[in-house]
Point group: C2
Chain length 331, copies 2
């Protein structure tokens, strides 16, 4: 049975919501779960499922907070849930690690402890975004590398291409370079040079795409630096939250007026859009390019997001993404 390590100490809603999501995932996805965190607490929270549902505990007495400096925290806290979770992957005792904790610390621990896959210069976060119903796309880099060179963006495209093929099931993903204009000459120096590099690859590169193209489903893989990618993603998530709130108000009103039975088309459409903008649906971003399957979840993740992140971790591990990246040898 596949084993997935889950950081039970990371995230705003840890440990309760993390444990809840992990138990649901164990039931739904038929995976074994290793909860990484404070032993006594986890015994209380998950006690009745231990050794039944395939749920076990890996003790980690320390926790890295959101505002701690990643490298310093990892050095000073060798028994943090993040360090121990990553180690479980390194030792092959878990096939993947899911954490909603300090993203920087997870990235550092993965980079330095698991290491990069040969040929990969800059591992990057790939996040699934679904702004078009039924047509999810991959945004890479979603925030691992704030400052990038053109060769990094070309690499993100290669990593995203493999992930979109395997996880989104798209045979020849359309690769778009996020820029401030469609023409090749538009963009900043980074995208102009990256465009040049991407044209020379064997990828299905469709050229520059603009912000609104993400909503129009023009590309399957949206390539960008981690700074821009992170800002765009958080903007979309923020708007998604607004939509979800508005919908809840709408449902309360519909209910008061006994309109519940009349499902409005607009509400269905709106729900689909709001869902697509909701980070809880996919649960997390996958760190591509390190020797191990690492899913970074939103700090505000509750049970549903964690459950979905574990589902994504399972699919990522099943598809042998790391091996495919190593074999691609595009470095």
């Amino acid at each position: 049975m596949m084993k997935i390590a889950v950081d039970a100490a990371g995230g705003e809603y840890a440990p309760h919501e993390i444990v809840k999501g992990a138990i649901k995932a164990a039931q739904e996805y038929k995976v074994d779960i290793i909860l990484v965190g404070k032993k006594t607490v986890l015994h209380v929270l998950a006690g009745r499922y231990l050794n039944k549902l395939g749920i076990s505990i890996a003790p980690a007495s320390q926790t890295i907070g959101f505002h701690e400096h990643p490298m310093e925290a990892l050095r000073s806290k060798p028994k943090s849930s993040i360090a121990i979770g990553i180690n479980l992957v390194k030792e092959g005792r878990a096939q993947a690690f899911v954490s909603a904790g300090n993203t920087g610390a997870v990235l550092c621990a993965a980079l330095f402890n698991l290491g990069r896959i040969a040929g990969v210069e800059r591992p990057a976060l790939a996040s699934i975004v679904k702004l078009v119903p039924l047509s999810p796309a991959l945004l890479i880099d979603a925030g691992a590398n704030a400052d990038c060179r053109p060769s990094h963006l070309a690499e993100f495209a290669q990593l995203g291409n493999i992930y979109a093929q395997r996880i989104l099931g798209i045979e020849s993903p359309r690769i778009g370079l996020l820029s401030n204009g469609k023409e090749e000459t538009k963009g900043n120096r980074l995208t102009q040079e990256s465009h040049h590099l991407l044209k020379k690859t064997s990828l299905n590169f469709i050229g520059n795409i603009e912000g609104h193209d993400m909503v129009d489903g023009t590309a399957d893989v949206i390539v960008t630096d981690g700074f821009t990618g992170n800002i765009v993603l958080k903007t979309v998530e923020g708007l998604g939250d607004s939509l979800i709130n508005l919908r809840q108000v709408g449902h309360a009103v519909s209910s008061a007026y006994h309109l519940r039975g009349r499902a409005l088309l607009a509400d269905v459409g709106l729900g689909s859009l709001a869902q697509g903008m909701d980070y809880r649906e996919y649960g997390g971003a996958c760190l591509l390019g390190v020797k191990g399957n690492i899913i970074v979840s939103h700090g505000r993740s509750q049970a549903k997001a964690i459950k979905n992140a574990i589902g994504l971790a399972k699919r990522t591990a099943e598809q042998n993404i790391c091996q495919l990246i190593a074999e691609a040898g595009y470095g």
Copy 2:
């Protein structure tokens, strides 16, 4: 009477929608309009309003297309509507110029023909965004400068501060630096150094803000480079279009079910959000830092957007923004 020059040849829906919007603006805002474009065409479209509603024509026999290279087009087409419109402002025959044409060409013509205000290194596009009901914010730079240095971002903050004070009526605008994390140490090299500079100004600098903070109304002025700003703005606009479409479907369904009378709270909220994300509402972005009032409209602008852009041009001219920038002398 204030005179506003309008590029009747620029934009996807030129000249019909531009002329329609200009006539509406003349009626609504009590401004004189100078339509810049092909004389015979404009005589046909606006003939009955000429010399009555304060509408006149400035002949421009050439048009710069969307895909033309800005500088080359300006050189080879001295009689383009953009060149002639900018010239009307330079000669003081118009107090502002509104164009939905080739943005790059408008920026180049403004920079080289009007020139920069003394002390300003990089004029920038300021765009009003309203993702929070009743609480509009200013995004600067919305796309004029794809590659920026820290000093440029500090300058954008100063320009945006003046514009937000005068146009949004906020006494001490909260200035936020768009980044991929709240902490001072987060960001790319550009924002890290810009943060350092901004802290030393007398501005009401509230630090880094993230994508979702734009939806939460954390800042009144959102400072960013033109590459990131443009992508974020177009993403929001694209999502706004989706919402507007969904709402229209919803209205059709409500109507079929005779629910029209029952205004749903959610629909009001949704309408407010969709409206805030709609570029048509503000009509355009203001180019701050050049010697003249220039409003750049969306290429897809129809009558409503053009009318609103002219309204914004009027408010910008009335507030003497150029003079205030010159007097601020922060350069």
